[in-house]
């Protein structure tokens, strides 16, 4: 029987360096083993704890695997209809401008059915944060093709691989909204390694901090795995993500302080 109590002379309160944030509830998350949704939730919760804004934050959950996010974050939350989170968040922010408001959305939610709501919230420069989990697939409904599914990538509705002639091209929503004057901060991150997680957390924090400036919308894309939808083990899925998703969806900042990165 493996005991998991740690080394007794080190496991002492004064030596504690990392524990689950209190902004996460004790509920076991329903996600598949290794799914990036869990990490992304935790980072948002950690930022809320570190900024001490639990009472000042309202979150909006999507329709997608993260629909039950409100069970895991100990903050007030609203569940939006599929794709409508940016409209819901717009109203919350307009009515309570001093609150921190964020949406959390999958790629189907944000880049297919909710395209109009996404683009217009970005274009109006709503002072909200949008966290966009891009796993290139419809996870919740069983791995169908998403707007973000890569060319040639298999899904349950592109079983022979995405044929772009027939099914259209993968959509880079993040690059697209970066073009809009209403976005202040647009970045693409990942959460598969310790270094990427630490960077992603900084980006999430930035998206919350930006709301104080009232200069526009912050969007943080997190390229993530869907090992169930991709039909791989979590470790394989992360490797596949680096080799296949990153070339098309390269992590990095796209727009900082309202200016496109790498442009005058």
């Amino acid at each position: 029987m493996v005991e998991n109590t740690g080394i007794s002379d080190i496991v002492k309160d004064e030596n504690l360096v990392y524990q689950k944030t209190k902004v996460l509830t004790d509920k076991v998350m329903h996600y598949c083993p290794g799914c990036g949704h869990g990490t992304a939730h935790r980072l948002i919760a950690e930022v809320i704890e570190e900024m001490d804004i639990q009472a000042g934050t309202i979150g909006v959950t999507p329709v997608g695997c993260a629909v039950l996010m409100y069970n895991y974050l100990d903050i007030d939350m609203q569940e939006a209809a599929h794709g409508r989170a940016p409209a819901v968040a717009t109203a919350i922010k307009r009515l309570m401008p001093d609150k921190y408001v964020f949406t959390y959305q999958g790629d189907g939610d944000l880049a297919a059915i909710g395209t109009a709501e996404t683009i217009h919230a970005c274009n109006r420069g709503e002072n909200i944060a949008v966290f966009f989990i891009n796993n290139g697939i419809y996870g919740m409904t069983g791995g169908q093709m998403a707007p973000t599914t890569l060319s040639g990538m298999k899904s349950s509705t592109s079983p022979y691989g995405r044929d772009v002639q027939m099914m259209g091209n993968p959509l880079k929503m993040t690059e697209l909204v970066a073009q809009l004057p209403g976005t202040w901060y647009v970045t693409r991150q990942a959460v598969h390694t310790p270094a990427s997680v630490r960077k992603a957390k900084k980006a999430i924090r930035q998206a919350f901090e930006n709301q104080k400036l009232k200069k526009g919308l912050s969007l943080v894309e997190i390229v993530s795995n869907c090992n169930s939808g991709w039909k791989m083990s979590p470790v394989e899925a992360n490797k596949w993500m680096v080799e296949n998703m990153f070339p098309f969806y390269p992590p990095g900042d796209i727009k900082l302080e309202g200016k496109m990165v790498g442009k005058e």
Binding site: M1, V2, N4, T5, G6, I7, D9, I10, V11, K12, N15, L16, V17, Y18, Q19, K20, T21, L24, V28, M29, Y31, C32, P33, G34, C35, G36, H37, G38, T39, R42, V191, H192, T193, P194, V197, R198, S233, P234, V235, N238
Partner: protein, 76 residues
């Protein structure tokens, strides 16, 4: 020179055995147990506890937030 020694505690009932922490550990501390928890997952545990530096890498990548990390300075 001051060195760190660490220890982790995995909440083994909540661990889903995804192995992400195993890959993230720079000193090869963690393995998945041969036995399973009540959910049927091979949970993570410290196979080489002496190698742990308390760097928190494993906890930082754990999607289920089930790892707690302790670290203590020791004089080498």
């Amino acid at each position: 020179m001051a060195k760190s020694k660490g220890s982790i505690i995995v909440d083994k009932e909540r661990c889903k055995g995804c192995e992400i922490c195993v890959l993230a550990c720079p000193t090869g501390v963690i393995s998945l147990a041969r036995e399973v928890n009540s959910k049927g997952y091979h949970f993570a545990y410290m196979e080489n506890p002496e190698a742990c530096t308390g760097c928190t890498n494993c906890a930082v990548v754990c999607p289920d937030g089930v790892i707690t990390v302790y670290r203590k300075k020791v004089n080498a």
